[in-house]
């Protein structure tokens, strides 16, 4: 029934839970897993400042040597960031294979929501497993909910996994705390 299970993995703390539920779904139907990590600047990356996210040619007002150095640093940070994602993917893949489920992984750069949907479409996935942080209301509007995008645009079934951050009161105080914590 769910033979091809696409698992959207990110760096958030809930990824383990997402993976576990995907694994139990795969075991239920003898499906194979495809782990996907979408690299995007939207994901909270402390190493990359907004200034350096600009295209390399944009910052003409800075000394070119500084700019070149900055870009080198940026490239290093980016590849380290990428490696970290691959490490996570590899770790999960090994775990799934140890559980007797055929698994592959891939890492794509792009806008998370649309990339996940396109990838699901191109590999004919039966179900997408994705975590949900439980942002609601204003916070969801501003932060942009990847899972919401996927729910409305996916070509197949979706398993939304509720990841630990759930109790979130809508009072502004608690939101502030969470943002600056």
């Amino acid at each position: 029934m769910f033979n091809k299970i696409l698992v959207a993995i990110d760096y958030s703390a809930g990824r383990k839970q997402v993976f576990d539920q995907a694994l139990s779904l795969a075991k239920a139907d003898q499906g194979n897993l495809i782990l996907l990590h979408v690299l995007s600047v939207e994901e909270n990356n402390p190493a990359i400042t907004p200034y350096l996210r600009q295209h390399k040619d944009h910052c003409i007002h800075v000394d070119s040597r500084i700019m070149r150095r900055a870009n080198e640093v940026y490239d290093q940070e980016w590849s380290a960031w990428k490696q970290q994602g691959i490490k996570i993917l590899r770790h999960f893949t090994e775990q799934a294979i140890a559980a007797g489920i055929s698994t592959e992984f891939s890492q794509i750069t792009g806008h998370p929501g649309s990339t996940i949907c396109e990838f699901a479409h191109s590999c004919d996935a039966n179900v997408i497993v994705i975590g949900r942080k439980g942002h609601s209301g204003l916070k969801e509007m501003f932060l942009g909910s990847v899972s919401n995008y996927v729910i409305h645009h996916a070509p197949c079934s979706i398993l939304l996994v509720q990841t630990p951050v759930l109790k979130e009161s809508t009072s502004p105080k608690s939101i502030d705390k969470q943002i600056y914590a």
Binding site: M1, Q21, I151, L159
Partner: protein, 184 residues
């Protein structure tokens, strides 16, 4: 990990919803709860006829409405019983419940009361304006559920329990005379 699965069932629900619920419950040894919410936005919900302002007539209308409603409720129960029987045959511990109200809210409330680990909902597949006006139950559930949600999307080629086919199934069992009795 998944011990309790709540299945939000309606007549439009895809057969896939039940199949995946049963196979999931089987492998995870989870308990199933089938829920059917009697809601006004279900197409088969009886409509109160109140065009006549005459007390005698409106009394009659009300009686008729009540009868239709009972009939509708009964059909829902039958539907649930049939699905529960299927699940029990597959060796899954199954309960069912019928509630009245706003489907999305009832589903989320039951999920937290029963401490479900997973909610299975079908998707009506409404998009854009239609979704805005008709309201998407699955959307409400995904935003308000206390647990994980599995949205099972209809494939056009898969079999669904449409109300019509279920009615026909039932109609074959009900004798002609009784059927007329219900209609009049």
């Amino acid at each position: 990990m998944i011990d309790k699965i709540l299945v939000a069932a309606d007549y439009q629900a895809n057969k896939l919803v039940f199949d995946s619920a049963i196979s999931l419950a089987k492998t995870t040894k989870a308990d199933l709860m089938l829920l059917h919410v009697l809601g006004e936005d279900e197409p088969s919900f009886p409509i109160m006829l109140n065009y006549a302002d005459h007390p005698v007539l409106s009394d009659y209308d009300y009686e008729l409405y009540k009868k239709r409603y009972e009939d509708y409720r009964h059909r829902g129960l039958k539907f649930l019983q049939a699905r529960a029987r299927e699940a029990r045959l597959a060796g899954v511990n199954t309960e069912f419940i019928q509630l009245t109200g706003n489907p999305g809210r009832e589903i989320c409330q039951l999920a937290s009361n029963w401490s479900a680990d997973l909610i299975l909902v079908g998707s009506r597949g409404l998009k854009g304006l239609k979704e805005m006006f008709l309201g998407s139950v699955s959307n409400y559930v995904t935003h308000n559920a206390p647990c994980s949600v599995l949205i099972v999307r209809n494939d056009s080629d898969s079999v669904s329990y449409s109300l019509d086919s279920f009615d026909q199934e039932e109609a074959q069992k009900v004798p002609e005379s009784q059927q007329h009795g219900l209609m009049s």
